[in-house]
Assembly symmetry: C2
Homo-oligomer: 305 residues x 2
């Protein structure tokens, strides 16, 4: 089981090297990240996009890309379809966004002929290593699905279980979060959290332990759980997956962690046939490299199942 | 302007000593906090409740309460009404919850004859000193009002301005938070945030600068604001007041800060005639002492206006 990003990367280093296909690769931050990923034996890359522009950006950043395969496609939409088809056809293992709008990137992911759709809803997972917490935390959905319904939340949990499994976490604990840890009919989020818990008990959500509604302290802090006497709960400060009520709560907590705590993190899209890396321009260099490592672990796990 | 809790407490030390009236004072954590507050010259206290029980709890905790005034009222509801009346009548400056349910405590706060109601909506503010951020942050509402309407949000801002003013912050910057920093009609929170901003421009919300919707990184991290090129925004990582979409988002961020970042914090209820301290059993000793100091600063400010 990977408990830190160092452990995750060590695991990746032991695997056969995976390959990431980059859509519209003329993006300085992405080129730096794939260079570092290759140097650290995390993943190789195929750069799809405008060859001249890719070379120009690499030169400006002083990034050596001589050992990467480059596929020249000048048009951005065409480049994205070419890049995603490489993953669809098994010539690459992961798909990564370069210099094109998220909307266009997602269209390629969902393309019926060459894309990576499974029919499942897509969701986003952000993996955190946080100082003071002895295992990885999987936050979802902090960036993609705005207002998930109960059904969406089931999909989000199922999508995320693929990622926890890839990280070697057996039967992870899922905390459907709220401001409080008891059901309050005036707070629909708590009612839905209880419904998810019941669906898990009834065998409708499997491969994990769901216990909600749960406040954040009871989810991540064993001392707080002890102090509050939460001895009857399935989760006592030891949650693996934090399921957020909506994108606002998720995104605000995500950014609170990144901007105030000591953390490492990486993220990816889930619900696709192969790992999809959709980092944003505000993500740091390390986040991009961590995201590639995470995707590589998931690609390996998908291959073996 | 107070930028840390040490500065806030130094300010309190220079003031004439305030007095906190405690409702149902036979609470070990509260007795420890008022003892420390008096020792640190933050505030004196009047203990209202069952005299024997108060003495017993103090003895068990080895807390010296010999220099506190005790008013014996055996019945809890009666004790709360007696305690709040002391503040109503100006015999004490702040009102604090002891060992009684929040519901009963609030009833005393809102009592028409002896309570502290102003006709305004009550809201909660949590003040944070966070390592890496060079000024105090005022988070609202993370604990009291579940799903504030637009009108409620105006009240929350107005209530919080009393607190920032007491802390010496002129024209504070208010960030109505969301997952994103642009208006998206599919996200009602962003529409309301824009409406609050417009109301501020139109002079309907005064004494502050409102700029929303705003993501958390643009609200609290000047580097992130610079990186994202947010040079046209009134807030560029320098928000004072963080206005949350709802209690779930607020409470989850609040607990993320407390349980993962290096922080000091204190909190109080607002919208009342005098400061009301409503700490919870999960709040640490230091949080309770900080909350008394915060209330003392606000009491002084209210007296001078």
């Amino acid at each position: 089981m990977s408990k830190t990003f160092d452990e995750l990367i060590a695991k990746v280093n032991e695997m056969e090297m995976k390959k990431v296909s980059v859509a519209v690769a003329q993006d300085s931050a992405v080129l730096e990240a794939v260079r570092a990923a290759k140097d650290r034996k995390i993943a190789d890359a195929i750069l799809v996009g405008d060859k001249d522009k890719i070379r120009k950006v690499a030169d400006e950043m002083n990034v050596d890309i001589s050992d990467f395969e480059i596929i020249h496609v000048a048009d951005d939409i065409e480049a994205s379809l070419t890049a995603v088809k490489l993953v669809h056809d098994g010539k690459a293992d992961m798909y990564m966004k370069g210099l094109l709008p998220t909307k266009d990137f997602l269209k390629s992911v969902l393309n019926k002929e060459v894309g990576l759709r499974t029919g499942k809803a897509l969701s986003h997972v952000c993996v955190f290593e946080i100082k003071g917490i002895d295992h990885l935390l999987f936050l979802t959905d902090v960036a993609f699905m705005p207002y998930p319904t109960l059904e969406d939340k089931v999909s989000i949990i199922e999508n995320t279980l693929q990622i926890t499994k890839a990280c070697g976490i057996e039967n992870p604990k899922v905390a459907p979060l709220a401001a409080v840890e008891v059901v309050n009919p005036k707070m629909p989020v708590t009612v839905e959290a209880a419904e998810l818990t019941q669906m898990n008990r009834d065998g409708k959500i499997t491969g994990c332990i769901v216990d909600g509604p749960l406040s954040l302290d009871l989810s991540i802090d064993p001392e707080a759980a002890k102090h509050k006497g939460a001895t009857d709960r399935a989760i006592q400060g030891d949650a693996d997956i934090l399921l957020f009520p909506d994108i606002h709560a998720g995104n605000l907590v995500y950014k609170a962690l990144v901007h105030t705590a000591e953390v490492k993190n990486g993220n990816m899209l889930t619900g696709t046939k192969a790992p999809v890396i959709l980092t944003s321009r505000s993500d740091s260099f390390e986040v991009k490299v961590n995201s590639i490592a995470l995707a590589a672990v998931v690609a390996e796990s998908m291959k073996n199942n």
